[in-house]
C-alpha cells in the first residue's frame, strides 16, 4: 500500500461555511454593540441643546419643575430628585430589614423542602408586571394607607414607597440568598466545631462572609426602585411639590418622563429638558449598578 501523503491543505467549502457563519455572527455583534452605545449618544445628544438654554447649575438646583408653563417654563430638577429619593428611601426602610431577615431565613434556617418551594415562588413574584402591582396599590392598598396614616391625598409618596418595597424584596432576597448559599459549608462546620450555636454561626461566620453580596443585593434593589416607572406613576400622585413629607404627593423622575414625553413636541425645549432628566436618571442608576458591581467583584475575589 502506498504511504498516505500528508498535505493538510485547506478544505475550501468548509472554510467558506466557517467565514459565512462567523461573518453573520460578527454583524449581529456589531448591531448589538452599536445599539447599546446609541443609548449614551442619544441621551447626551438630545440633552446638549437643553443645557445651552438652561445651565447645568440652574437645572440641578432649581426648585420648581413646570416645563409647560406658557410664559415662564421652569426646569428645576430638585422636586423630581426629592420625589425619587423620598419614595426610594421609604421603600428601602421597609424592604431592607424585611428582605434581609427573609433571605437569612431562606438560606440558613428554613427546611430544605420549604426552601425549594419558597425560592421559585419568590422568583415568580419578581416577574409580576409593575403595572399590576400599581393596580393593587391604587385599588386596595390605598384604602388602608388612608385609614392608618391619614395622608394629605389618596395617592402619595408613602403608598408609592410601600409598593416599591414589594418590588424590591424579591430582587434583594434572590441575590442575598445566592450570596449566602455560596459561603462554603466548611466555614459553618468550623464555627460549629468551635461550639457556636446556629445563630452565632450565621452572625459571625455566614453573614460576614457573604457581606458584600448582601450589600450588593440591597444596592441593586434600590437601583431598581429608583428607576421604577409604572407602579410609581400610578401611586404617588405626580405633583412636583419638592417636599420630604411622605404623606404628600410627589413626582419622580421616571414618572415625569412617562407622563410628559407624550405631551412634549419633538425637538422643543421641553422635549430636550426631558432628555436631560433621562440622562440624570441614567447616570444615577448606572452609578448605583457600578457600585453594586464593585462590591460583588470584591466578594467574588474573596472566594476564589
Amino acid at each position: 500500500m502506498a504511504k498516505k501523503v500528508s498535505t493538510y491543505g485547506v478544505d475550501y467549502s468548509r472554510r467558506f461555511t466557517e467565514i459565512l457563519v462567523s461573518g453573520a455572527l460578527f454583524i449581529c455583534m456589531l448591531i448589538c454593540l452599536s445599539v447599546l452605545f446609541l443609548i449614551f449618544w442619544m441621551l447626551i445628544g438630545n440633552s446638549i441643546p437643553f443645557f445651552e438654554e438652561v445651565s447645568v447649575y440652574d437645572f440641578l438646583t432649581g426648585d420648581q419643575w413646570n416645563p409647560f408653563h406658557p410664559n415662564y417654563p421652569l426646569f428645576g430638577v430638585q422636586p423630581l430628585l426629592t420625589g425619587t429619593l423620598l419614595v426610594s428611601i421609604i421603600a428601602g426602610v421597609i424592604a431592607i430589614p424585611i428582605g434581609l431577615g427573609a433571605s437569612i431565613y431562606i438560606s440558613e434556617v428554613a427546611d430544605p423542602k420549604v426552601k425549594n418551594w419558597l425560592k421559585p415562588f419568590i422568583e415568580i413574584i419578581a416577574s409580576v408586571p409593575s403595572v399590576v402591582l400599581g393596580l393593587f396599590a391604587v385599588i386596595i392598598l390605598a384604602d388602608y394607607v388612608m385609614i392608618i396614616f391619614d395622608p394629605y391625598s389618596r395617592l402619595n409618596a408613602l403608598l408609592g414607597g410601600i409598593i416599591l418595597a414589594v418590588m424590591m424584596i424579591p430582587i434583594q432576597v434572590t441575590i442575598a440568598e445566592e450570596a449566602m448559599n455560596a459561603v462554603p459549608n466548611s466555614l459553618r462546620e468550623a464555627s460549629y466545631a468551635l461550639g457556636a450555636t446556629r445563630w452565632e454561626t450565621i452572625r459571625h461566620a455566614v453573614v460576614p462572609a457573604a457581606f458584600s453580596g448582601i450589600v450588593a443585593s440591597i444596592v441593586l434593589a434600590l437601583g431598581r426602585a429608583i428607576g421604577e416607572t409604572m407602579a410609581v406613576t400610578m401611586t404617588t400622585g405626580n405633583a412636583a411639590l419638592n417636599t420630604w413629607n411622605p404623606l404628600y404627593p410627589v413626582l419622580t423622575m421616571p414618572a415625569t418622563l412617562a407622563i410628559e414625553i407624550p405631551e412634549a413636541a419633538s425637538g422643543s425645549l421641553q422635549y430636550q429638558a426631558l432628555f436631560a432628566v433621562g440622562l440624570l436618571l441614567f447616570i444615577i442608576t448606572f452609578a448605583v449598578n457600578i457600585v453594586a458591581d464593585i462590591v460583588l467583584a470584591r466578594y467574588r475575589e474573596a472566594y476564589k
Binding site: K3, K4, V5, S6, T7, Y8, G9, V10, D11, R14, R15
Partner: protein, 263 residues
C-alpha cells in the same frame, strides 16, 4: 540498511505567550510506533510542547509559535496548512476525562460522522449507519472498553467511571483513524487501578500508533515509554532511551529531577 525517518521532526521550536518565552529552541525527533514520554516539573512547557504537535496552541490568545514541526515530511506550521486538517490526523487525550454529555455511541461517532473517510482511490465518502457502527465497535475494542459497554452504547457517557471515561476518550480519538496520539497527563485524575489499565492500553497501542505522553509521574514514564524527554524551564534538557535517562542521566538537572531532589 534503511535509515528510519522520524515520524515527527521538531526543529528550533520557540513558543511565546505574550512576552513569556514558554519553549526555547526545542529540537527533537519522535520515532514511529514508539511511546515517547515528556517529563519535567510543572510549568516546564511539557503541555505546551505537546499542544504544538496538533496546533491546539493556535486557540490560545497571544500565543506565537516559531520554528517547524514536521509530520510525515510536511511542516504543519508551513504555508497553506490548515490547522483543522492537522487535528483530523492526530488524536489527543486530555488530563481529565472530557466525554461529551451524549451517549457512548454518539461520543465516538461524532468525529467520523463529521469527517467521513477517504477510500483507496482518494474519493471522499460519508459513513453510512452500518459503517458508523463498525467504526464505533472497532474503536471501543481497540481502547479495551467494548466488553464493558457493548450493552449500553445508548447510555450517557457520564454514567461511566473515571477510568472508563478516559478510555472512551481514547476510543473517541482512535475513531478519527490517526497515526499519532497525544496524551496530556491522561492518568492525573485516575486511581491506580484505572491508571494501570490505561498504561496497558498505551503499550498495546504502540503496535499501531506513534504515542506522545506528557506525565508528571516518573514511574509511569519508566514503565511505558521507549524514549523519554526531560524539559526544564522551557528547554529540552535531555532526550534518550528511557532506560538511559533513568539509570544514567547525562545532565545534572535530569539527575536531580529523577532522584527527586527537584520538582
Amino acid at each position: 540498511m534503511v535509515i528510519p525517518i522520524p515520524k515527527i521532526e521538531v526543529q528550533d521550536l520557540n513558543v511565546y505567550f505574550e512576552k513569556n518565552h514558554a519553549l526555547k529552541n526545542v529540537d527533537i525527533n519522535i520515532e514511529e510506533k514508539e511511546i515517547t514520554a515528556i517529563i519535567g516539573p510543572s510549568g516546564c512547557g511539557k503541555s505546551t510542547f505537546i499542544r504544538c504537535v496538533n496546533r491546539m496552541n493556535d486557540l490560545v490568545l497571544g500565543c506565537t509559535v516559531k520554528g517547524s514541526v514536521t509530520v510525515d515530511g510536511k511542516d504543519i506550521y508551513g504555508k497553506g496548512v490548515d490547522a483543522v486538517e492537522v487535528r483530523k490526523r492526530i488524536g489527543m487525550v486530555f488530563q481529565r476525562p472530557n466525554p461529551f454529555p451524549k451517549s457512548i455511541f454518539e461520543n465516538i461517532a461524532y468525529a467520523p460522522r463529521l469527517h467521513g473517510f477517504v477510500d483507496e482511490e482518494g474519493k471522499h465518502h460519508s459513513y453510512n449507519k452500518q459503517q458508523l457502527k463498525e467504526v464505533v465497535e472497532w474503536s471501543l475494542k481497540r481502547a479495551a472498553l467494548w466488553e464493558e459497554v457493548s450493552d449500553r452504547l445508548d447510555k450517557s457517557a457520564y454514567n461511566l467511571s473515571g477510568g472508563q471515561q478516559q478510555r472512551l476518550c481514547i476510543a473517541r480519538a482512535l475513531a478519527i483513524k490517526p497515526e499519532i496520539i497525544l496524551f496530556d497527563e491522561p492518568c492525573s485524575a485516575l486511581d491506580p487501578i484505572a491508571t494501570a489499565k490505561i498504561e496497558d492500553l498505551l503499550i498495546d497501542l504502540k503496535k499501531d500508533y506513534t504515542v506522545l505522553i506528557v506525565t508528571h509521574n516518573m514511574q509511569q514514564a519508566a514503565r511505558v515509554a521507549d524514549r523519554t524527554a526531560y524539559f526544564y524551564l522551557g528547554e529540552l534538557i535531555e532526550f534518550g532511551e528511557t532506560k538511559q535517562i533513568f539509570e544514567r542521566p547525562e545532565k545534572d538537572l535530569t539527575e536531580q529531577y529523577i532522584t527527586g531532589r527537584m520538582g
